[in-house]
Structure formats: C-alpha cells, structure tokens
C-alpha cells in the first residue's frame, strides 16, 4: 500500500497554458494492490506571493527609520477544487484518470491572470495538485505540478512594427557618480542604441560602438534588472535586483567597431511589465563599462548595481511585452 504513487501529467510538454484554454491532462495512480479512497480531487491554485525583506535607514535630522520585514498576504488569482472521481476503489496496477478544467470561468472577469513570474520579492505561480483521499488514518496521496500561464492571444499586442530604439551616449560627462581621475581627464565615448520595447520571445537587440577610450576597457556587460514594488500598508517598497548579466565585450576592443547587443530574456524570470494595484514588476537594462584599473582588482565581487570609480553606466528602462 505504502508504495502507491500518484503522478500528474499535462497535455502540453512545455506546460504553457493560456487562461482561456482548458487545462487537460491525466492523473496516473500506480499501486501494487487495490485500495479504496474517498475521492480524487484536483486543485488549481494561482496566486501572487509577495514578500518584503527590507530595512531602510534614512539618516538626516529627522532620523526616519523604516523597516519592513515579512510576508505580505498573497493575492489569489484562481483557487478551485474539483472532484474528478467520487469515492471508490482503485484497482491494482496503473490507473489513469483523465481530466479537463477550464482555467477561467465564463463571465468571471474580476480576477486577472498575470503571467507566471519567478522573482525575488514577487512570485506569480500556478500549481495544479492531485489528491487521492484515503481517510483519516492514511495520508492522502498527492502530486503537485507547476504550469505556466501566458496571456491570451486575444489580448496580445501586435508585434511592434518599429521597436522603440533608445539612442545612448556614454561619456565621462554623462556619469553621475565619481570617476577615476584618469577616466575623467582622458575621456571616453561609447555610443549605441538599444530596443527598449521588447517582446519576451525575442532577444533584446541593439548595438554599441566604442568610439574612444583613453583607459583600456576591461569588459562591457549588459545587466538585466527587475524592479519589484510591493504596497505595504500605505508605503510602496521597491527593490531592484539583478536577473542576469551578459558580457558583450571582453577586453579592450577595437575602436569604432560595432558590437551587437543580443540578450535573450530568460523565461520565467521575466514577464510582461505589470502595474497592478498592490504590486508592480518592471525591468531595466544597464550597460556597464568596466575600465582597467588597479582598484577594480581589489573589489572583485562587487554589486553590479552600484556604480564604481572605474565603471561607466547607462541604464535604460525596458518595457517587456508579450506579442502575438
């Protein structure tokens, strides 16, 4: 008995579903012997989980100290329990119970199916659970599987005909943070353009040219950040964290050669930019030029979000969209 197992299988191997679609699949119960149960249930649960881990100390005369810690109540998106099989017996061997569930009820519109997103402070997750209830003495058999939700095609934008390109110049004068004296005096100029309205299925594309730099360049990276804001009480707590880094130049590259910016957006870690009432998810990209410097060797593992004396940064907001 104890070796009975239950397994969930979805009809799509990539497990991506749209809210208007029916979630189809099967529950596979394998048991060496037959046993009776009190029903087989399917649970579908989708929610926005928020957590805030932040301690902000603002100095100054007022001496405001703010601190938040803990989990904010999750925002439910969908929560259903369906009995797919009434109580009865499960035969020995393999039993397959197919199921089919509408994610969205007809006329049910108050709930918004946000796209699946795995962030740091915000997690939007959809789970499907199968439970085989076996009375009070025995633990029920269960299996859980995450499925991915993407926006319905009906609501999707047409692919932007001309993606918005932001043109940027990075020179010693565009930097708001202090620079090494040799950088400030010697100067540098890096120009380029990058798409800021990006389809999730397509890479962020653009190009970049090092026109001049007196100090040799060590590397040029594109950092992809998420900006997660959560409403706590009456305050909005915003946190920026790094998703991924993509190097586009390694070493002191030739001047006046166009380098492509080609960053593939990681699945699940990105989603369409969302501005909901209680939370928002935004993204931005930073182009960071690291110059060769003795100082940089002392700070090998530094936070890429913090500008340093030997770095030049250009940050561009990104709007991520799902297109047809």
């Amino acid at each position: 008995m104890s070796s009975a197992t239950v397994e969930l299988k979805l009809s799509k191997s990539n497990r991506i579903y749209r809210p208007s679609e029916t979630l189809e699949g099967k529950i596979v119960v394998k048991s060496p012997s037959s046993f009776s149960h009190y029903g087989v249930r399917l649970g579908i649960n989708g929610s926005v989980n928020l957590q805030v881990l932040k301690l902000t100390v603002r100095g100054g005369t007022a001496g405001i100290i703010e601190s938040f810690y803990g989990v904010v109540k999750p925002i439910p998106i969908v929560n259903k329990i369906i009995e797919v099989k009434p109580s009865g017996k499960i035969a020995a061997g393999t039993t397959v119970i197919p199921f089919s569930v509408n994610l969205k009820q007809h006329g049910e519109n108050f709930e918004k199916f946000y796209e699946t997103y795995h962030g740091r402070d915000i997690n939007i997750q959809y789970l499907i659970t199968a439970d085989v209830m076996r009375g009070y003495l025995q633990k029920s058999l269960s299996a859980t599987l995450e499925f991915i939700v993407e926006t319905d095609k009906v609501y999707l934008l047409e692919r932007p005909v001309s993606p918005e390109m932001a043109i940027f110049y990075i020179t010693q004068d565009t930097q708001r943070h202090p620079l090494l004296p040799e950088l400030k005096s010697g100067g540098f100029r890096v120009t380029g353009r990058m798409g800021t309205l990006c389809c999730l299925s397509e890479p962020i594309s653009g190009e970049l040219t090092v026109e001049a730099s007196s100090v040799p360049i060590c590397s040029i990276d594109v950092h992809l950040f998420r900006i997660e804001s959560v409403l706590v009480g009456e305050k909005i707590v915003t946190e920026t964290s790094l998703i991924q880094t993509t190097q586009i130049a390694d070493g002191d590259v030739c001047r006046n050669m166009t380098l492509p910016v080609h960053v593939i957006l990681p699945r699940l870690l990105t989603c369409p930019t969302v501005f909901a009432g209680p939370f928002s998810i935004e993204f931005k990209a930073s182009i960071v030029i690291n110059f060769e410097s003795e100082l940089s060797k002392l700070h090998k593992k530094s936070d890429p979000a913090v500008p340093r004396l030997w770095t030049a940064v250009e940050t561009l907001p990104l709007e991520l969209v799902r297109t047809k």
Binding site: S13, L145, D221, C254, P260, L268
Partner: protein
Amino acid sequence: MEFRPRNYIAEEETHSLTRSAADHHPLSAVPPSSSAPPPPENKLSNSEDANFFDPLRGERRGGDSISIDEAPDRRSAAPYPQAPSKEWSSFKRLLMQKFPVSKMIAVSSVSSSAVCECAAFEKPDRTMLVDELDDVENEGLKVITQQEYVSRLYDLKDEINRAWNSDDRVTALKLSIKVAKLLVDTSVLQFYPTLFVLATDVMDMLGELVWKRIRHKAEYAEDGSMLDILPENFKANNVCFDAKETCNNWFCKVGAVRELLPRIYLELAILPCWRFLLDRPEDNLQRLVMMIRGLADPLASAYCRLYMVHCAQKLHTSDKGHLIACINDLNILFMRPASAKETRHGYLTDKKKLLVTLIDPAIEYIMKCIFDNASKVRVHIDDALVGLRLARNQVDIVERPAFVSIVLHHLLKELPAEILNSHAQDFLHLIQFSKDYTFDQCLNYRLLGFRLGEHRSQIEVLNLVLEEVMQAISQYERLDEFLNVVDAYIDIVLQNQMDGYLSSILKALAMRTSSKEVTEDDSRILQSIMIKLLSRLKDLDEIFALSHFLDILDVMYGRSRNAVNLHILDMATRKGRLRDPAAIQLLFEISQSLHDGIDLSHEKDDYARQLARLISRFVQMVDYGTELEQHLMFLVECRGAFGGINELKETLVHSSNSLATEALKDDKKQSTLVKSCIAFSEVTIPSIPTQVRQLNLYLETTEVVFSSSNWLHY
C-alpha cells in the same frame, strides 16, 4: 588526431557504484518537499524554476524512455550536418603539428580549477587532494604538464558523454561550458592551437548530441511512436512544436551564459540546430561575426572566427558574407596601433611575431574557404572582391583599402590567377602600402610575381608591373629581400623575353652582390635565379653575351655555386664540340672548382659520379682543331687538376691516344707530338687502380705505338 578507442560500457561497469533503485528522479518535479539540490552554478537553473519543464532535465519516463543512442534513428534522412570533415581534420592535424608543445605549461587559476574540478567531478567520493585544493585557491599560476592537461580534457569529454547518456543533460551542458571557458585563457600562446583543437572537438560532439536529440524529438512522439521522418532538406515547418520548443530552450540556455567567449562557442556548436527553427539559419552568422568583435584578445578572437567558419560550413551556405566580414575584422585587428602599455614597455616584438604565426593558419583557412570553388562561380569572386573593397570601380574611386601584409599574403595566395592578372596593378599598390610587422613585404612581391607567372598576361601590364616592382625593390637595403623578389620576377621576364629588364636586373644584381656580403641564404636564392636563367639559355655563347652573368657567378660560393656550375657544365657539354678557348678556359675553371669542392665532401656518391661523368665528357668534347700541341697541354693540365677522378684518367689516355692518331694522319709527321702523347699515356696508365683497365689501355696505347711505326723506340 584520434581519440583512443574506449569501451564505455565496460568502463562504466567497473567505475560505477552499486546502485539502488530510487523512488523518484532527484531532478524530477513531482515532490515539492524534496528540495532538489540546487546546481552549484548556472543562475538560471536554480531551484526557483526547478518545477518548470526543462528539456535538459527531461524526466525519466521509466521503461518507455528511449535512450537516444538506442533509438532506431539510423533510418532518418536528416543526418547531422557535417562540415567537409576531411579538410577540417587535416587542418586540425596540421595545426597540432605546427605548434607542438612538449613543455610544462603554466595554467592560470581559472582554467586549472576547471580542469581540476573535472578530476574531482569524476571521483566525487574522493576528497580532492589537499595540495590540489591549495593550488586552486592560489591566485598564482599552477604548473601542470601538457600531457596532464590534455588527458584531463579527454576525461572531460568522456564525462560529458557519460552525463548525456545518463540523461543528465544539465551536467553535460555545464561541463561543455567549462570546456569552452578554457579557451578564454591565452596565456600560453603556443599551447592555444592544441587547446583549440581539443576543445572544439568537445564542442562539435555536443553539437551533434543536441542535433540528434532534437531530431529524435521531431521524429518520435513522447511515447516512442514514430511521427514522421525528417527529409534531408527539411524546413522549419516540418518540425513539430515540441522539438522546436526543445531547440529554443537550448538556445536560451546557451544565451544565458554570462561570458562572451563561451557563449559564442556554444552557440556555434549548436549552430546547425537553427535549422529546426529557421529556414535560413545562416542569417545568424552575421550577428555571430559581430559578436566575435567583442573579443579583444587577438588570438582568442582569431581562433573563434576559425571555429565559426568551421561551423558555418555545416550549414552548407553559399553565402560568403560572414567569411569576408571575418577577414575584414581580422585585418582591422592587426592594424590597431600598439596600445600605450605596449609602447611603454617597448612591447616584445617576439611575442607579436609569435602571435602572427599562431594566427596565420586561421587566416589561411578562412581565405581558402572564401575562394573555395570560386573559380567555378564567377559571381562569388565578384562578391568577395566587392566585400573586400577590391572591385574595379571601388579601388579607383573609394579610398584605397588597406590590408595588413599577412592578410594580403593569403589573399594573393588564394585568388584565382586570372583575377590577379587583371588586377595586377591594384595589388601592387596594396603591397606597396602594406609594410608592417606581420609579414615581409618582399615576400608578398615575390608571391605576386609567382602568381602572375602562372597565367599569361598582357605584355603592357607586365611592363608596368615590372617597372614598379623594380622601382620598389631598388629601395631595399637588404640583399636577401632584393633577391627574393628578383627570383620571382625573373620567370616573367624570361617567359616574355623582356630583354631590357633582364639586363637591368642582372646589372642591379651584380652591383648589389659585389658591394654586400653574400650569405649562404643569399647564395641559395642566387642559385635559383641563375638556374632559371640557364634553363632559358641555349649555349655558352649566350652566357657570355649576358653581361654581368659571370660577375654574379663569382660572388656565389658553396653548394649553390656548385649547383650552378654543374648546370653550366652540363649545358655546355651537350652541344657538341667545344672549340672556343675562352669557353674551354671557363669550363676548366668551373670543373676545377667543382672538383676541389668534392674533395671536401666525400659522402655524396651520386654527386661525385655525376661530376666525374660531366668532367670526362667535357674533356672529350674539347677540340683544339689543328692546335694539337695545345690540346695535349690541356690534357696535361687536366691530369694535374683532376687527379681525384679515376674515370677521367681513362678518358685522358683515350684522348691522348686519339690525339696521337690524329697527328699521325697529319702530313707533317709530327713525331715529337706523337712521342709526347705516347709518353703521356704511358705515365698516366699506372695511376689507374683497376688492373684490367690498365691492361686495356696499355693495349690501346701499344696499338697506337705500332701504327705510328715508332715501335723501334720500344
């Protein structure tokens, strides 16, 4: 180079631990409570998305799973696209031969840790040796032998294979990334080609594994039933959604690699897989070419381009744009002015030269690919010329393109001869303006000369070319540079009977060789020039007619001089009787110097025999006409001069005997001369070592004596 054959099944059996059945796959998604151990690196695959269906960690489907290798996919018509493998493998072999490294190599901590980790990975139960750990932690250099390094790379390759076969594709990918990362380290320059060959072998293997897996996905349903066989030239819409999804995921995984170089290598490795997604996979090449520009290290970027070219061949595209872009980028790379640091340290030119020799094969290979089959397809050449900014209308109007000499060299080497001929002057100018450390300018002139000689050209063009070349090389200070160029153009001059140039070249040669010290190498080039001249000339008279020829011959020495002398001797004795005293004098001197030379080097038997034969023939051919006494004098002289050649003594006796017979026929009855001849023979014969020969010669001489009726004397 070949990998040693291994029996993986047997090895696996001996090395693997005893196994017990697990309830669930540790990476499978089923139990949320059992926290899958987060993979040590690779940000993307951390535990957050462990529930997401990841094609790399595809669940084990119990019994119904079909291992890729066992799958009956041999029937499939869409084989893994191979690059012309013969060329590539012979190229790899050449590369390894050209830069063999048998010394110890210092490996920076980054790569050594990767290599060490591999060793640790293999034996996860054994703790790493303490000192090995220290080495990894040390920031300094770790010294291991090349053999160790190479064998660890082989181990890594096996490990990737094993991981893949046990459906652990995450590990396989991670190890492959590690291998690709090794290519970042160019600190041991001479070792890099070897490293490249080994690492790209691993990359190619990974590419093939991924290809087969996706093809399998496209051809078989999840439950193992056959869907459809992909035809050989399938289109993207023949491929089912699932396979595309898997393919896309691979590109996403690879795209998430942080460092540029391994990211490029991995995408190149799975480049053919673009075919599952796109009908024109070659569209990605242009982006990849540009991405490679981001690699500042010249060696790493050159080899990366090489690998790109190799992988692009698998797409069987006729488009050569990426190749041309590669060459142009490489060109720019070399043209970079030395950085401040380099000039401050008076940068080691030796290192730069070494760098050029290391990059040279890459340029050669790419250039070959551009003009591969080009002679058949005219359009390609035109495209290539436009791409390299060399097309006719471009050269004149737009500012002249500049080529680094090493790039230009390979261009000259690979361009079809007729193109080279029609653009001869343009190339001449290109050579003129390419004077840098990467390659000797004179060798480019030389190459152009040889290439122009391959194909008939218009005489006017050649006149112009020669004029400019002569002008250019007159500036050269070094004799060897000058000679190298002349050596190439003398062919053209001779082929087209441009006598004016010939005499001016000879004059210049004579002037230069007399004023400068001629080294052995110079002498060797001179030999080549002289022999070319001689092969065009018919007889000695023409040699005498050429002014300065003998002057040039005089400055030569050693083996090359002998070679030329031998040539002259051979040529002169082919053309019947020698009557001109000056010619006889010259040949005698030549023979003498050859003969003197041979005494010093006994070892070359063939040469000695050839020489003896030639000198003997020369002696036979000499004809003083009626001046019989002079002839005898000559024979005496020869006997004195060529004492070392026994064969010649026979000839001398024969000659003196026939001289005597000649004298007897004469009316004047020059009895003194006959006597002298006989005396000469008599004295000469005993010095011949073989007694039978002596006897024969005695008989011959006696015959002469009898017929001269001077027998009373005996």
